[in-house]
Structures are given as C-alpha cells and as structure tokens.
Subunit: 132 residues, 6 copies
C-alpha cells in the first residue's frame, strides 16, 4: 500500500469525527480502507466525505439510483476497489440480482456504443445541438 | 467522417427495416448519425440495435434510470456523441434539470473517488469479498 | 490550439530532416498537424517519430494489422485526432470497408466485455495464470 | 466477488446450452469465470455469447487478428481479467512471442500518441475530413 | 449544449457570489463556460469551486505544479475542454514552452508504460508492497 | 502472467546492458518486474528505457515533478503496477506525505471536473482558442 490505514483507535479527534459521521450516515459499525487511507490527509478526508454525503443523499434521484450511477462510472473506469465497495452499498440500499443484471447490461452496451461512436467518428447531429 | 451516412432513401430493405424499428420504438421520425453510420455494416447495425432495444427496455430498472446509467458511462468515457444523443433521450424520458444536476454531481464524485482509490492503492476490504 | 504549427517552410534543419523522413516513409507530400505541433519540441518530435517508425514497420505482424491495432486503442481512448489520422493510414495500407466493419464490431464487443468483467468483479481463473 | 459462479453441474438447461456452445466453439472442456458469472443473468449470457461468437468468427479479418484487436482494447482499458483470458485465446489461435512483442509495442505507442494529441490539443486536418 | 450558460447579468446573488470569488481568486474579469454551465446547479457550482480553490492553492506543491498535474489527468482522459482551460491557467502561472514540452513527453511516456504494464500483465513486486 | 520474467542471471548481454543502465541511473540494485517482462522483447526494452530515461531526466521540470505527473497519469488510468512502482520512485526522489496528499487531491478534482465538463457538454470558450 502507499500509505498506512488510520484505525479508529489511533485517529485524531478530527478524523474520528468524520469516521463517526460516516458510520452514522451509513448505519455501519466499521470504516473501510478507502476512508482509513484518506485519513492520512484529514482535510481531504473531510472534504471528500462531506461532498459524497451531500451528493449521494436522496433528492430528485433516490439513493439507490445514485449508487447504480456510481457503479456505472466505477465499472467503466475499471476501479476494482470502488466496484467492491459500492456494490455492497447498492445491495444495502435495495439492489436486487435482477437490477444488478440490468445495470450491467446497460453498462456493457454503453461502453460498446461509446467505442463505436468514436471508432466511426460520428458527428453530432444538428438536432442534438438544440437540446437543453 | 470515416464512412458515409446511409440515408433512409438510399437504404436497402434490410437497413430500412431496422430504421423503421428504431423510429417506432423511440417514437421519432428521423434516424441519427450513429445509426446511419453503423448502417454501412448492416449485420452490426441490426445486432447493435436489437441488443440496445432489449437492454434499454424497462424492467427491474425503468427506462429513464437506464438512460441515466448510459450518461454516466458516456461522460466517464468522454464520448461527445453519446452525451449529446443520450441526453436528448433522457430528456424525452422525463429527466428534469434537477435530476440532471444530481446525476452530474454523482458522476463527478465517482470519477474523483475512483482516481483516489487508485492513487492511494487502496486494498479491497475482506468484508467486501463476502458480498454477493 | 495550445502551440503553433511549425510549417515546413519555417522549420529548422533538424525538424525538416524529420519531416522529410516522415514523408518518405509514408509516401506522402504533406505533414499533418500532429507532427507540426510536436515540432515545437524537436527532441520529442524525433524520438516519437523514430519510435513510431520502428514499431509500425512490418514484422511478425504486417503493417495493416498494426494500423488496426492502433485504431482499436484510439477508439477506446476516444482520441478524435488519432482516429481521423490512423483511419486514413489504414485505408492507404489496404483496409477495406468490410475490414473496417469487422474491426469496429470487435472494438465494440471488447469494450463491452471489459466493462462487464469489471462490473461483475470477475476473478482471474487459475488456468489463465499458467499461460505464458 | 459480486455474484456467484454458476457451475455447469448447477446450471439450468438454458445456461448449459450456452456453455456447451462456448466449449464447442472454443474447443475447450471448461467454462471460465466470466461466463460463469454472466450466467446469473441468462438472457445477457446468451446475448453476449452470441454477439461475441459472431463478431470473433473469421471474415475479412482472421480470428487471430481479431484477438490481437481485443487485446489492444483490453490493455488500454486496464482490464485485468480480459488480458488474462484473451491472451490465452490469442496463444491458442497462433500468437507467437514475436507477435506479442510487436502487438505490445504498438499498443504502447498508440496510447502515447493518443495522449500527446490530446495534450497538445491537435486539430483534425482538413485532409482527414475527406477520408471515407 | 446540454444546459444553458448562466451569464453574470442573469445570475442569482448566490451564483454571482461564486463568480466574484472565481474572478478574484484567478485575477480574471470573465467567467468561463464550465462555471457558467455548472451554475445551473448552484449547490454543485459552489461545492466544486470551493473544493477546487482549496485543492489548487499553493502548499507543499506550488500552484504551477498543481496545474501541470491537472493537465496530465486531462490529457489522459482526453478532456478537450479541460485541456484548453487548464493550459491557459498553466500559462498564466508561468508554464513556459520548455515546461510544456517536457510535461507532454512525460504524459506520453506514462500512458505508454501504463498500457504496457497492463498488456504484459505485470505483477506488483514484493518490494513495492513495503513502500509507504 | 503473460510472459516470463528474465532474471539478470539468465539475460543476454544486450539485456544486461539495459539492466545495468537502469540500476546505475536509478541507484538501485535490483530490476523490477516491468523491465524483466519487457526484456522478452529486447528491442522494445531498450527503446522504452532509453525514452523513459531521457524524458524523466531533470530539465525545465525537476525529476520529482516529473514523477508526480507520472502518478497523475497512472492513477487516472487505474494502472495498479505503475502506481506501486512510481510511488516508490517519487518517495525516493523526495515526495513527502504532505506532497502525496496534495497530489492526490488534485488528481481527484481533475478527474471530477473532466467528467463534469464532458457530462455537461461544455463548449471550449473562444478566449481559450487564442492561447498558445
């Protein structure tokens, strides 16, 4: 690993405050490796957590839909850690096997047509330039 | 462009059949550049359309959610054509400005944390290896 | 643009030497924007050209196959410039419409299954670890 | 892993039919983790296999060339699973060490010049816009 | 475009406050399209600007070095907009032609070796696992 | 792995010469897996090493800054091997924990805004087209 994991027991009050908020928000009793690594830089830990908490809260889109979007990005980026972590989150928020299958099928097709559009150098239609 | 656009008027019966199905399914009266370019290879045109139609049909996930997932992949891949085309589709299926804003915020955060996870070489937690 | 294009007429002898070699090797009578931009850094221009010339020369793989591989990478990376430039090269080296269609279909499928493998977090089989 | 592996012994007749076709087509006596995972969604399993089989069959491009293209995409996407799986396929279809070396050299150069073209914001030459 | 540009004259007090801060921080007298588009979602506009301002401020790394890092990411992602915008920022912060050339050369090499490492499926050395 | 590791003891004089130069330049007494794998193709080994050595040498940008740029690319590409290898190099060249934290924060933000720019389909401002 690049930097050590900051365990709750060894964390400063500042970091513990973030850990507490993560566990309270996620209804979990443990902190994962991503946050424990980010904790080496407490300012970035706080900012990243605060942003994520705000962004993932239910709004016009519900919490589960937001996790599915997160998985779509993570699979596309081949982010191994994020796929593991957010698949767990999505399951906790209600993702069924059926939803997972449909999600993956869309992710696969989107990556396929993205590459086809680039490969064939398709020009953006005029009609799309009017859509706001 | 790499290959010419096959206009409806110049299309073979095989290609027109696919065009007709696209327009009927999407309730549109025109064919976009992506399909008109793919039509240079009628076999791939048909297979891609049939797959996309099946994958994007509402199921455990509704049609709009699937478009949002498509946008998440396309933004991450920097696919200019697909962003234009699928933003239009998402709007047609009911995406409001509020939903667009929340979608983008999630896409942005996901791309950020994906890079942080890679940069910090975060190892997958044991707890995540048990999630099916 | 980020840096100016160095036209042949304005180029130093060092840069002209590279331009001459590019045109001779590619049997062309003009220099494209990529090389004319790279020429702002003559050392990088020379190193990049020399490497590309060596790498793209026919060997165990013929020149056309190498262009197809180049297109596969460029489409996947959504590199607009490279798709335009290398599609032209591939055509010059004998790529037919039929080959282009098959190439694109493979690129599309590969991008799809890459994303599926990541999304489903598929573990590498033991059998594959023995393949050298 | 995200979903369980569906072993042949536990598979439904529908899934076994696909497994049998994979083994027959690939002249193999086992099913890899990618297909065993996709089998959790039999519809996607079938569609993905049918598409892949059609796309990878020899045509204007031979089967080995298609595997090389697949590797170019997979390396570019950093798809660990796909590199392992398709390197094995390429070997089976005749890829020698010499071909592998040349393939990798092209993949490396293409990823390099793709990034240079983006970094230098190179504009597509007019001459390339005429290539069909 | 996907959403309209919110011009200063038409902006709400909340958005104008962010615009003012951007111009003050960057010593500029205009707002670019990225911020004017993000302004359609004032909460995201503020959060993104506040994060960026904090992250890009000189610290252990000076402001110019941070812009070079930003360009490295943007070129790798093929982000056309970000390359244009941040190249301008880097110039303002002192990037010379010589620095630009060296930056691009590193970006090119890194993208090349990243692809080679993936293509050759290189395993992480034990020695690297001890580096913190 | 895809190809075997060529250990120093088993290497040809040609490969040993490159190994010796790597160790001398990097002040190290061992060769990592990346070079030992590339050594299966001695021509590519030499060319890649020579290019990397030239590109990473201090110039207008110092050696550490170049490593930070390398990390920015590698994290963005999710290149696990390169992150491990170049984080070690950066540490050797003087990267402190503070620098690492700031580097990661910039990489994270850049990946975020790159995706936002693509998602919102932001058009390049005219003012940026004048920057050279």
């Amino acid at each position: 690993m690049s930097t050590g994991l900051i365990e709750y027991a060894d964390a400063s009050p500042e970091v513990r405050a973030v850990y507490d908020d993560i566990m309270a928000t996620r209804k979990a009793d443990w902190i994962n490796n991503f946050w424990k690594t980010l904790a080496n830089d407490p300012v970035t830990l706080r900012r990243t957590w605060e942003s994520l908490k705000a962004v993932m809260a239910p709004g016009a889109l519900d919490a589960l839909t937001k996790e599915l979007i997160y998985l779509a990005v993570s699979a596309t980026n081949q982010c191994r850690y994020c796929m593991a972590s957010h698949t767990a989150s999505a399951r906790k928020k209600g993702m069924t096997d059926e939803m997972l299958g449909e999600l993956m099928a869309v992710i696969g097709m989107a990556n396929q047509t993205n590459a086809l559009a680039a490969g064939y150098q398709v020009e953006v239609d005029e009609q799309f330039k009017l859509t706001c």
